[in-house]
């Protein structure tokens, strides 16, 4: 999404879904995974007459509430969407003026979509063409329609293409930048958005600043440390600026010798895991191997991380008990960019300590505590977490955090009852502000931006066009938006570049004083600590990041426009030739990753003839480490199972509630209960991904430290999910795999 229009975040918000006239849900199951979001969806259905359209390989509890349900084969969303775009064009439902004014490169999409006739879509996806037409008609004729997706789209080798084409679908219909429209990505749990905002990623510093020298210099300044000192912490400048191993790929940095060449000639030797269920990534048997091989493993978690039980290492593994969310305070950010203050309810129990204390102690012992806390600018007398919150607000200018100070967020939380949940608008002391100051919140007077890219509001009230992020011109075509498509009250009636000290006077029609000139010299909106550039831009009705076109062509990606590619382990090998995987990649997040060669390594479907559908269940969260420790949740959902269509089970000779072996394309196998279910089709097995503590038929309960074992255990589905990583983001492929089922 960031590569389409500038920011990678949910564009609208949960309450805003109520304004939709049609809601299309791909690869998401909010009834099970986001029950509160489902309230807003059902309210849109009942009160606003919204049509609910669900596209999913599995007939989920969300699908049970839909008006139109389309069952597709896993990993064929792109074919389905191109089929939709083709029909939208054929029926003249395209928002022509929106595209003409605010989008670059739509012609290539319209050419590509011609391949996907309803008949061809039916062949590729398995969904009857009548349903494709019905779903497209319901969605395209509604005004406005919103699109929801979730991990069902991102955890694929072509996940980044799924999300791009979804964004493009919304551009085609002109559904962007308006209440009731937009791309509403439901994050897996609270604070996921904040984690990426703060740069808990392998390829960027906080605020999506990237890893270039300029970014490091900017952050060295924000953190009040010397750039040269910072550089001296790294092996080399090249490694400082190179993407790291990602969550999906780190295991290959430990296990595969060839990747040392991408990592300053060394394999990974230590792992510190803070609050991450690392067994939810694919190939858990490889995770075990990697954990066994490392020199040092540290888990920082309120519960015993199930990966600590999976490894059989006997030394140099440490479990540091972390405080839970009710034992600490600070901001929490929801899926829709809004922040809320979380207060401490009780002091940490027993030996548990808050994460920041543990990290401060690490810093002290490693000798950089003074530098670590320097960014707050208060020496050793800082107030946690308020001073850190203000430091974040000051530093993350790219996403407009300047207005999100601790005191403003606290004020919103304290006045929670004064906000409208549909529009997020405040009343009383928070009049004209939006709940939780959804970013961008450009300065301390800004109200926050509930709906991104909405040009029907002035920038100072949360309006903006698309971000100017990809230059101003490409092959002679203008990348800035057309005349007449600027936010209300803009001094410039059309597109303009991002604000810098060089163009501010011309664009804003002002003359800076000498003092102001000196303050902003050589700066742009992302680096100007004085705030002058942003303030002057807002006064002239300009968005600090410019006003440009969204793009469908991402020229720095492998696929310039999103392309359907068959899964590496495809159920339809006959389509692999037409829609092959990309070429193998060298040094993809420091790892040499197989695509084409894995896809063609063998005729996978001959030995592994059944598709996997994976997902979460409502009772459990992530690896289930926390929820399986609840006796009531364990009572409701206490064991691992696989949903199998009775016809498939009958063919395999497996009775309902009998045990079966599931063999993955890697070395993993799991022994689980067969549950007859009509939710899946006759070629698939659904595996919930929330279990752990049983390893290929063997219980690991005895490996938990005394008194810490959860109430329920089960095989981890990711023991049988296959090798495969997103071709751009390296997100592991958990959603398309093949397996073999046998009666146990």
């Amino acid at each position: 999404m960031a590569n389409t229009w500038g920011y990678g975040a949910m564009t609208n918000h949960i309450g805003d879904m109520q304004n939709s006239k049609a809601i299309i849900i791909f690869g998401a199951n909010p009834a099970s995974n986001h029950p509160i979001a489902m309230q807003h969806i059902l309210k849109a259905k009942e009160q606003n007459g919204a049509k609910i359209i669900v596209i999913d390989p599995r007939f989920t509890k969300t699908a049970a509430k839909s008006d139109v349900y389309c069952r597709i084969r896993t990993g064929t969303d792109i074919a389905f969407m191109y089929g939709m775009i083709r029909l939208i064009r054929e029926n003249n439902w395209v928002d022509k003026s929106f595209i003409a004014d605010r989008v670059y490169g739509m012609e290539d999409i319209f050419t590509e979509c011609e391949k996907f006739t309803p008949e061809h879509v039916e062949d590729v996806t398995g969904c009857p063409k009548e349903l494709l037409i019905q779903a497209t008609t319901a969605f395209a004729t509604a005004e406005p329609g919103c699109l929801i997706w979730n991990q069902g789209w991102t955890q694929h080798t072509i996940g980044s293409s799924n999300t791009r084409l979804g964004s493009i679908l919304q551009l085609t219909l002109g559904n962007m930048g308006k209440p009731g429209g937009g791309c509403n990505i439901l994050r897996g749990h609270d604070n996921v958005q904040a984690s990426t905002d703060l740069g808990c990623l392998a390829d960027t510093l906080p605020g999506y600043y990237g890893l270039s020298e300029g970014s490091w210099r900017y952050f060295s300044k924000q953190w009040n440390v010397d750039y040269e000192w910072m550089k001296s912490r790294f092996t080399s400048k090249a490694m400082m600026e190179a993407k790291g191993f990602s969550l999906g790929l780190w295991i290959h940095g430990v296990l595969d010798k060839e990747n040392a060449a991408n990592n300053a000639d060394t394999p990974l030797k230590a792992l510190v895991c803070i609050g991450n269920g690392i067994s939810t990534i694919t190939q858990t048997h490889k995770v075990k191997e990697a954990l066994d091989k490392l020199d040092l493993v540290v888990f920082i978690d309120p519960y015993v991380n199930d990966a600590a039980v999976i490894t059989t290492r006997s030394d140099n593994m440490f479990l540091l008990p972390a405080a839970s969310q009710v034992e600490t305070s600070g901001t929490v950010v929801n899926t829709a960019r809004s922040a809320q203050w979380r207060s401490k309810v009780v002091e940490p129990l027993y030996e548990a300590r808050p994460d920041h204390e543990i990290l401060f102690d690490f810093a002290k012992r490693m000798g950089f505590y003074d530098q670590y806390i320097a960014g707050m600018g208060k020496g050793k007398n800082f107030t946690w977490p308020e001073d850190a919150t203000d430091e974040i607000a000051r530093s993350l200018k790219t996403i407009g955090f300047q207005g999100r100070t601790a005191s403003r967020i606290k004020k919103h939380t304290a006045n929670w009852h004064l906000f409208d949940s549909v529009s997020l608008k405040g009343k009383g002391v928070t009049t004209k502000e939006y709940y939780g100051l959804p970013w961008p919140c450009w300065n301390e007077k800004h109200p926050g931006s509930p709906v991104l890219y909405n040009i029907n509001l002035p920038v100072s009230q949360g309006g903006m066009g698309f971000r100017n992020r990809f230059g101003t011109e490409r092959n002679g075509a203008d990348l800035l938006s057309a005349k007449g498509s600027a936010p209300v009250g803009s001094r410039i009636d059309g597109g303009y570049a991002e604000i810098t000290s060089k163009n501010i006077e011309e664009l804003a029609g002002i003359t800076l004083t000498d003092a102001e000139k000196k303050a902003v010299e050589g700066k742009n909106w992302k680096t100007d600590d004085s705030g002058i550039l942003v303030d002057k831009a807002l006064a002239a009705g300009l968005a600090p990041y410019g006003n440009a076109r969204a793009r469908t062509i991402v020229w720095n990606f492998i696929d310039h426009i999103p392309k359907h590619r068959e899964p590496l382990h495809s159920f339809r090998p006959d389509l692999v030739k037409k829609y092959p995987a990309t070429k193998d990649q060298k040094n993809h997040y420091r790892t040499n990753v197989r695509y084409e060669s894995e896809q063609n390594a063998q005729k996978w479907v001959e030995n592994y003839p059944i598709n996997i559908v994976s997902g979460r269940i409502v009772e459990h969260m992530g690896t289930g480490t926390e929820t399986r420790a609840s006796k009531y949740l364990a009572e409701l959902s206490g064991e691992m199972y696989g949903e199998v269509h009775p016809n498939l089970a009958a063919k395999l000779g497996i009775k309902d509630n009998e045990m079966m072996w599931v063999y993955g394309t890697g070395e993993g196998k799991i022994k689980i209960k067969c549950k007859y279910s009509l939710r899946v089709d006759e070629n698939s097995v659904f595996l919930p991904q929330n279990f752990s503590g049983v390893w290929s038929g063997e219980s690991l309960e005895s490996r938990y430290p005394k008194g810490t074992a959860p109430h329920s255990f089960g095989e981890s589905s990711n023991q049988v999910t296959s090798y495969g990583y997103d071709q751009q983001t390296s997100c592991p492929e958990t959603k398309c795999s093949l397996v073999r089922l046998e009666r146990a």
């Binding site: 029950p35 309210k43 009160q47 049970a64």
Partner: protein, 196 residues
């Protein structure tokens, strides 16, 4: 006899909104510290996985006006409050299970523990109104769970319902919410989520 200024307390669950998330079930168990195996409330899904036919519904004791459990109980342990909430006295209950025969909804629950799985005292939904012990006493909590009604609070299940499918309260109030929802159907967003 003076007329009470309230109707009878009722549950209502909208099958168009219930998403089988079991939030009500867990909220109930956590609030009252109900033993594992005893389900004062259950979510039932019918036609699971059948396209176009799947529905879910949360059910508990329906607090009948003419409660069959009360009529068949050999020790007469049931009593019906003025607001219609059906409660029972565990000190009088002999765990015979007649009420389970009589109940049209499968509401009465029996603890499974003890030698040979003897039934033990019956347990059921109290609509968060406790029992005959002193209100909000330790004894009341131990035998019947929280008494939220005495504090003017909505029962735990409905307060936790993620989609507001499950409503509970004075039957007039529940009917009014339903009427309001019907009146606003298809007319755009007219209410805040919590009260729709």
């Amino acid at each position: 006899m003076s007329k009470p200024d309230f109707a009878r307390m009722k549950f209502y669950c909208d099958e168009n909104l219930c998403i089988d998330c079991n939030g009500c079930v867990v909220a109930c168990k956590e609030a009252h510290e109900v033993p594992v195996g005893v389900n004062r409330r259950k979510v039932v899904t019918v036609n699971e996985g059948v396209v176009g036919k799947e529905i879910s519904l949360s059910m508990a004791c329906m607090h009948c006006a003419d409660a069959p459990c009360q009529q068949v109980c050999p020790t007469d342990c049931f009593y019906i409050r003025a607001d219609g909430i059906v409660l029972h006295d565990k000190d009088v209950c002999i765990g015979c299970g007649y009420c389970l025969y009589a109940c049209p909804f499968g509401a009465p629950q029996f603890p499974q523990d003890g030698a040979f799985g003897t039934k033990g005292k019956m347990d059921k939904c109290t609509m968060c109104a406790g029992g005959p012990e002193e209100t909000n006493s330790h004894e009341e909590f131990h035998k019947y769970g929280q008494n939220r009604i005495s504090e003017g609070k909505v029962p735990m299940c409905a307060s936790m319902c993620s989609t507001k499918a499950l409503l509970v309260g004075d039957a007039d109030e529940v009917a009014l919410i339903k009427t309001y929802r019907a009146a606003t159907k298809g007319k755009g967003i007219a209410t805040e989520p919590m009260g729709w």
